[in-house]
Symmetry: C2
Subunit: 405 residues, 2 copies
């Protein structure tokens, strides 16, 4: 008998009515003869409320205890959903992270799944129970409760699907799939039927709102097909899976944008070995994730070095770099929060040349200046002035033939 | 190094400010050189909110899942308190029921503690950690989460104190101890300094609001001294312990009253073997707890049978008895919700005669009619008309010499 893993996000279980709705969906799949394992998030807003509560205690709550606190969110919905299914006459049982044997490392607040025993889940599923697993949580080897960080429920779902060798992993959310661009700013954006893991991994900004990026890596590694779809409609969503890229595939699958980055430039840095380490070590020690790094060609032994950080870390990073600049004798430190990253993504790029030059040309035609460029095998990203973001997305979407009829 | 177990009730941890207050108390004891294990309830009102939530799902929520839901209440406060202690610079760690190895039977919603491993607690305490245990919860042999029923946190605290052979178990609440009568209706009531386990067990009504009666039985069995006191003052409260009853001890230690009972009478029941079983089996099958039972002397092969049930079960019990009466050919079923139980309690009764007759005389002097009587070795209870409750408590309090100067 096939197994389907279904994951429901916070907006899908926002209150008892929503939970009832979710229960109906689950039983529909169950009645079709599938075994169903459900992974559930906290009710929308609850995790933030719990964090607020902790922040009332202290600015920097002990991470171990914060995880104990946050884990109550998923525990609550897991119990309520199992209760609802039982009340509807279906055999159901909730399992918390440790009961579902979700073993993680001990990085509280951002733990990684090491293993899922799944013995208990399998046992329950074999008896035709609907198993409701509290997502986002696990326990470490000492039995401490851990959480997987934001979006961790997606990872729980994919990991369980992998261990159970499930037929598919359905991620239910409040949007009906992955789009070729953000429909809010590009009205010609189309829903994508099928997308590869790699493309998904390269379009964090479009994807992350829908499917946690860490879970995609996991799905790719274990070849778990992930179906992203809406819990508010019956329509098929987007299938994230191993796609063979045929000759006819589009060069570009989607245009994405991000506005949550800020740029920092160190002017006139001595271009000598070890200088990059001096600049980036203190940033990473402060827990700040650097995204793009660009270093100009050296001139007369000096170079300009520019990188981007999340906007929320901008001030901290800037302060750090001012101290660094003094130490290494850089001429100046500049910062700019009014930037955006626009990217085109597509496995088709592998078989098509000229994507980059086309992108630069299209942007130039609208007099949009490119401040930084970074590329991967299947993605090209440009940093531009923030005010041009929407325009850039629309013209690239059209230029790469993504507009719907 | 001595160990003190402290239990804080829902009103003591009602919000972050209260939790901070509790943390100060804990650290004060810790700084005196004691090892401290804290048992914590859910924030006042939270358990009721969670039950309301479950009731929105269904009138009779699955008990296993209800326990998973309710357990989040104590989990939340345990995490917040441990976080607060950490933020104050003290070594602290929360443990949930299963982490503290609180093994229970599998009676969801009303589980009994079978054993407390306490290995983890001891280990942490030996390293001078303040251990914060989520009360009210445990897990059964299959790892299912269970709750101990209302007031279960008291039982958790006493059980842990027993296992750790703690110096004392302090139960912090919103009143400053046990009184000789309810101070709200008897202004001459005095706080009791020391009371025996047996007396405490016999004054459920005065005590249960303060100290869960099941925990007292446990404390008696393991000889754990329990100090009931207020978390809002520094005053000593009431010590519940093994008291040797000397010659000079008072006949009566306290006067208690309960208004939550109702009375049901079956008139003219055939007085024959097996009749009581026919009457009480359906009541107990409906989960209704019968308190007092009185059967009149049989006359001409018939008897009247009267018993009391909690007011909330009155209607159900009455309906059941109407069906029973038809089946067994009883003449009539009468019900009365306007009753109260007034009791005098004291280990001194063992050494003094005449307590009962004195009680009846005092009530008769005020023309208070006694409807039912029941006695234990150290308690005499009378059912009277509800409207006389306060008067009865006051005159008995005075008559037995309990009034404060």
């Amino acid at each position: 008998m096939g197994i389907i893993v279904q994951k429901y996000g916070g907006t899908s279980v926002a209150d008892i009515d929503h939970i009832r709705n979710v229960a109906k969906r689950i039983t529909k799949t169950y009645d079709q003869g599938y075994n169903v394992v459900v992974v559930i998030s906290a009710m929308a807003g609850v995790t933030d409320e719990l964090i607020d509560m902790a922040m009332q205690v202290t600015d920097s709550p002990e991470k171990r205890e914060l995880d104990v606190l946050l884990a109550t969110g998923e525990q609550t919905t897991a119990a309520l959903l199992a209760m609802t299914l039982k009340a509807m006459g279906y055999p159901a049982m909730s399992l918390l992270g440790h009961q579902a044997e979700v073993l993680t490392d001990c990085s509280f607040g951002n733990a990684r799944i090491l293993d899922i025993g799944a013995g208990r889940i399998k046992e329950l599923v074999d008896e035709r129970n609907i198993v409701v697993v509290a997502g986002f949580q696990g326990s470490d080897q000492n039995g401490n409760i851990t959480t997987l960080g934001r979006g961790g429920s997606d990872t729980t779902a994919v990991a369980i699907a992998a261990v159970l060798k499930a037929d598919s992993c359905e991620i239910y959310t409040d949007v009906d799939g992955i789009y070729t661009a953000d429909p809010n700013i590009c009205e010609k954006a189309r829903k994508i039927d099928t997308i590869s893991y790699d493309e998904m991994l390269n379009m964090a900004s479009l994807g992350a709102k829908v499917l946690q990026i860490r879970s995609v890596g996991f799905a790719k590694m274990h070849d778990v097909p992930v179906h992203v779809r809406s819990s508010f409609s019956e329509e098929e969503g987007t299938m994230v899976m191993n796609v063979d890229c045929g000759m006819e595939s589009l060069m570009v699958s989607a245009v994405t944008h991000e506005k949550d980055q800020a740029r920092i430039t160190l002017k006139k840095v001595h271009d000598q070995p070890g200088i990059a380490a001096k600049i980036f070590t203190p940033v990473s020690e402060a827990g700040i994730v650097v995204d793009m790094i660009v270093q100009n060609t050296s001139a007369e032994g000096f170079t300009d070095l520019t990188f981007t950080v999340p906007k929320e870390s901008f001030k901290t990073a800037l302060d750090i770099q001012r101290r660094v600049a003094e130490k290494i004798g850089a001429e100046d430190v500049l910062g700019d929060k009014n930037i955006a990253k626009v990217s085109v993504v597509g496995v088709g790029m592998r078989n098509h040349s000229g994507v980059a030059s086309k992108m630069f040309t299209v942007l130039a035609q609208e007099n949009i200046n490119i401040m930084m460029i970074s590329t991967s095998e299947i993605r090209i990203s440009c940093i531009i002035e923030e005010k041009y973001t929407e325009l850039a997305v629309r013209i690239l979407h059209t230029a790469f033939g993504l507009d719907k009829e």
